[in-house]
Amino acid sequence: MDGHALSSPGSLPPDLMIPRLFRINKVKKEVPGVFTWHMTSLDGAPLVYKPGQFNMLYLFGVGEVPISISGDCRDPTKLVHTIRAAGSVTKAMAKLQAGAVIGVRGPFGRPWPVEEVYGSDILFVTGTIGLAPLRPLILEILHQRDKFGKVVICYGSRGTGDILFEEDLHTWRGRFDTNVHVTVHSAPAGYRGRVGSVAAAVRIAKIDGESTQAFVCRSETMTRPAVDALHERGITSDRIWVTLERNMKCGVGLCGHCQFGPTYMCKDGPVYRFDQIQDLFSVREI
């Protein structure tokens, strides 16, 4: 496998700089500081996307931010974004109620590979908000469950009160064909689950490293230790997929804000095969 192909200009939407209007139909508070918008377009047209892609969400008069899509790509009429209130724009977004209208540009970026990993065991490694960009891929792989071997999800959160998509995790854990390991950094005494790092969960996951493709969605700081744990399990860098993010602005590799070494993350990322990007992980000040 040579990694997935770069996006071609021909596959891009016709006018990338003009936002489409979407109405927020539902706001769901997920965990402290994190909320999910369920939206539909005002023009009635679907927004077709692939797992791992992101949109530029525009809160008029405030600003525009890149946010990964967290919904099920099988239903492109419903757009779902899960957002952490971290900066000025997302904190303003957190105040919006159902009925509000925002601007959406996208989808942008290279998606997670799906067809390329048919036949493999699948291991997801993620934590906190990182589950949101992986959720469309998990859903898609479960839609096509018979095309994959084992499916294992390793998820870590700070505590028992901020486990993102807890209902989904329960649902996935309840399947006979999926293993879910949830770890928390700390817990009240008497908690019956696993406490520790996600890497510890990776070490005990029942997988065959030689036939596994791993999908990592963690902060850049925590990606490296996750990759180290995967290497210990025999998963080589050419079978590890990671995400990277920088200051994405235009979404199509024109403005250069998200340039990272030789790549533009908005266009060549945010999904990368680790062996194609690993050298940049050790370069400081990029």
Binding site: P32, V34, D162, A187, P188, A189, G193, R194, V195, M222
Partner: protein, 157 residues
Amino acid sequence: MKIEGLGPLVAEHPFFAGMDPAALEIVVGCCANVVFKPGAFLYRQGEPAEKFYLIRDGMVAIEIYVPGRPPIAMETIESGEIIGWSWLMPPYKWGNDARAADTVRAISIDGACLRGKMEKDRVLGYEIYKRFMPIMARRLSQSRLRIVELATEPSGE
């Protein structure tokens, strides 16, 4: 009926994988088979650290006592792992609590007994330290990384 000693159980635990049989025989002399019911303490903070445990089955929570608040579980140890190294170094007191999260089957190893044997047999001592050090280093590294994660990823509160 053939009654087997603890030797096979100790030998099959990953902590002692590949250990010289003669050295293993010395270790087995300090071992006992133990079971903890859910909620039972393997050890408690401040008490003399006299043993360590090879976990065969079940999960153990490492807890920190917090005055005026319920204890906090900081890490869990599972089947195939070991718990307890305070017996290796002065003042030989536990630095935290360890409590069975569910039914735990383990081999306990008498630390004072093993320390005595390690003093007499430095090769054995070196072998035991070689097996403990990577585990201690990995857990320290993981703890540091968790601090980094907590410091760099906003809590949302």
